[in-house]
Symmetry: C3
Subunit: 155 residues, 3 copies
């Protein structure tokens, strides 16, 4: 099964990749690795999941926001790979930043929204190293931001 | 035009690279990639731009601080490359940490100070992936910290 | 002297590596590089050093917590390398996240707990690039989290 077929089976429709908010690019490929810029939790209607965990976003909504970041990562990968997600050899690393009240300590539970998506889509090749940390605030007041390093096969 | 000529044209004079604050090194080269330690916003007189965005530093001053971090990155690259900035093949990734009040959400605008500098100096080879996040506080109360991954050509 | 002998000389006993808190893996090896997930400051009894610098953890205790993160990194490397720490070619980069009150600015001093450990164990090959930043809170209320990129020799 191709990754595109797997996405269809999972009922995941990839949106248009988000334009960078500023003077950078979404993905840089170098030495067989894609470095993907931090992705925010866009909803299908183009709005963003905003707020802070432990204040106005609960862990389950945070988990869902992290999954939305993961879907944006997939959309960026698809665009960078000319549509061919089967060139993904390994999701190497996710960096997960969770907008958090200083009393909220469940960042791993939130980050799983992105991590589990990668395993559902890519299987063992989706199993990655990860750092998850709290931050006081993110661009556009987003609840979660996720960046990635991805190993790819030659085209 | 060489990058050194380009810097002169832009009126940018690179300072002496900052010594690490502690038990690490400014740059590690491995497999054709330079990993550059987090750089702080030093002024020409050796002082640092301090404070937090949304409290005592406004977005424009933050943008300027990020540009100063970018200039320190260039100074580190120059030192690591024995003066030859033309060995830079691609600015691959910038990590931008912005000392932020929890209510400040313009981290991308601040981070552009570093990002736009890279494009002015290196052109398309300066276009990079980026993550920009808020943090509550940085070393020495710096307003911004920026690290980098840079692909280089063999000497 | 092998690294295992060096650890013995330093009186460092590596614990069992920590299981990931969630849906990810501790280490991914790709292209001669190990990407190591963020490690928390576990004590020998399995408890974690918790709290925030500038509130309920002082700089010296923070430094010790960072060293514990470093020991967990070594334990993960040892497991990923089938016990052979001599395959470590270079500690390339440490990312150090310090749970900090907004008034605490000594993150470099804290981070040195991990950085100096790497140099004690690996000598010049332990000298790395580093970013150290404050964060409001970490998973499980840990005081410090450290991740790493490590270059390794072929087995």
């Amino acid at each position: 099964m191709t990754i595109t077929e797997r996405l269809a089976e999972l009922g995941i429709t990839l949106p248009a990749p988000a334009a960078p908010l500023a003077a950078y690019v979404p993905v840089v490929e170098v030495g067989g690795m894609l470095h993907v810029s931090g992705q925010l939790p866009f909803r299908a209607d183009g709005s963003i999941v905003t707020g802070k965990l432990g204040v106005d976003v609960d862990a389950e909504a945070g988990r869902d926001a992290a999954e939305r970041c993961g879907i944006m990562l997939l959309a960026q990968l698809q665009a960078a790979l000319g549509g061919d997600l089967d060139r993904v050899e390994r999701i190497v690393r996710l960096g997960v930043f969770v907008a958090s009240d200083p009393g909220f300590t469940d960042q791993p539970k939130v980050a799983n929204g992105a991590s589990e998506l990668m395993v559902r889509v890519f299987g063992d090749q989706g199993r990655h190293a990860r750092s998850a940390v709290g931050v006081p605030v993110l661009p556009l007041n987003a609840a979660v931001e996720v960046d990635a390093i991805v190993a790819v096969r030659a085209a």
